[in-house]
Subunit: 301 residues, 2 copies
């Protein structure tokens, strides 16, 4: 049974990239340091995407440079060779290659089908390896796609194979639209691990349809110990504006602690950072805990 | 593996009892008939509690009488002998005895400790049996209590034993404050079933801490096939005003259908009734699906 989980908080990337107003680099740094102070050891802080495409991520280079030396692992998304060069130049130690398992989402996002996009990512991976950047990867639409529907476990497993061949030692399976059901998550995790027994498999879940905690719990039963999560649950699904976002770091930490699974995270400090985030974005957060009135509770981790 | 689940929608009781404004009997009837038309075969429609204590439930007698002859199973809560007499007089065919597993909640709600409250319920059970009303039961704070903290599985199992001896053939374990974690739900379900192998055990979950779908999924792994749920997820926890309410019927149906588990419920018709409910209560519903933009989706059951 799992007794420890590594949570990567992705609020600075997946959370803030969907906010209508770009948060300043200074405010991002304050959030990042608050999270690290609360015990987070892994953060996804930005994306080397074109600033015209996602202006909220335009300061990723600056953020990586200014956070060099922080004890936490700092992840960024790399979508192509140019992004890889930016990652190396900024001094990134870790980067996550991103590809969509589904043809439809890959075409919409990368302008290429999945396996052509992987060919192009090979160039990015070369740049990262040469720059001594540790490669991880994230498979978007690993379970379900807004265009193609359900994705077979075999297809996602083939994508994972290719990412391993590009040097990824960790692959996060992303339920981009938050529609995966728990046994679908299980089948895909099993298919990936069957073919890549030494690969570290993580999950990136969204709560659009209210199934994120069920899928996380199912994954824990399978021994998964790496989860992406976003403080306050922000970070919507672009295909479901207004819906719940990522699985919330605060909710996931609470469930894990209640289960006796350690995360190294101080839930009280996390609450303080979540309140700062709420003030910054100026709207209701979507984590369950954000709506539970403050005060001591026996039921928080 | 479970292939069919019986959902009891409790919106007319647990949902509406927390609304600041009482919904009219006519509107309740419209909702009830909408739910039945959507395929629900089991509804909890009211509570024989004193109308001064919960004015929203004052029309329970009328509702039961006016719905006699509907094909669905109609449940009501019975808290004492007087409530049992009202149930019989109204022509109820089913009633649910309610008791709190925790001493603190029982004292606060019933003015008596758990086992004294059970002694008093024995009188109610006698009235129900004499009136040929089928007895079910609901154990409040079966896992966690706002006053006493976590409740041991053994204690909840002892309460279930007493309810069985009073004639209950089905016992719903209620996570009144929505703080139970999945393996806690599992331990308690197992403890109850170990002592009462022929008892039908159901779950009544709240999503206060975002763990309801995880616990439901865990319970399904254990073969549980009966769930209470509330349309739109309304029905807050009185100890956490503003927090998420009951596990949402719409979300649960979606997860079960995605899992290939049948419920007999038409998800599209359910959405129509949910929209009527939203108009009636005049506020945002807390189900995840209520926030997913309308339109066809491959990911709804």
């Amino acid at each position: 049974m799992v007794d420890q989980v590594l949570i990567t908080d992705v609020v600075l990337r997946d959370g803030l990239q969907d906010e209508p107003i770009a948060v300043s680099t200074e405010d991002k740094l304050r959030l990042a340091h608050g999270l690290i102070d609360a015990g987070l050891t892994s953060l996804e802080i930005g994306s080397f995407v074109h600033p015209r495409k996602v202006p909220q991520m335009a300061d990723t280079d600056a953020l990586v440079a200014r956070m060099s030396g922080t004890p936490a692992m700092l992840h960024t998304l790399v979508l192509n060779e140019h992004g890889a060069r930016r990652a190396v130049a900024a001094g990134a130690r870790h980067a996550r290659l991103v590809v969509s398992a589904s043809e439809g989402h890959s075409q919409a996002n990368a302008g290429l089908g999945t396996f052509h996009a992987l060919d192009r990512l090979a160039l990015a991976a070369e740049v990262l390896r040469a720059g001594d950047v540790r490669i991880e990867a994230c498979i978007a639409t690993a379970f379900t796609c807004p265009f193609d529907g359900d994705i077979t476990p075999a297809r996602t497993a083939r994508v994972a194979d290719r990412l391993v061949s590009l040097g990824a030692r960790v692959v996060h399976l992303a339920d981009t639209i938050g529609a995966a059901n728990p046994s679908q998550v299980a089948s895909t995790v099993i298919a990936v691990r069957d073919r890549q027994p030494s690969l570290l498999v993580g999950l990136h879940l969204h709560n659009t349809y209210g199934m994120a905690s069920a899928s996380a719990w199912q994954a824990i039963q399978l021994g998964i110990t790496r989860f992406d999560a976003s403080l306050g649950g922000i970070g919507g699904c672009p295909f479901a504006p207004g819906a719940s976002g990522n699985i919330a770091t605060d909710d996931l930490v609470n469930m894990l602690h209640r289960e006796g699974i350690s995360t190294g995270i101080d839930a009280d400090k996390l609450t303080v950072v979540r309140d700062q985030l709420a003030a910054l974005v100026g709207h209701r957060l979507s984590s369950a805990l954000a709506s539970v009135p403050a005060g001591p509770s026996a039921f928080r981790g």
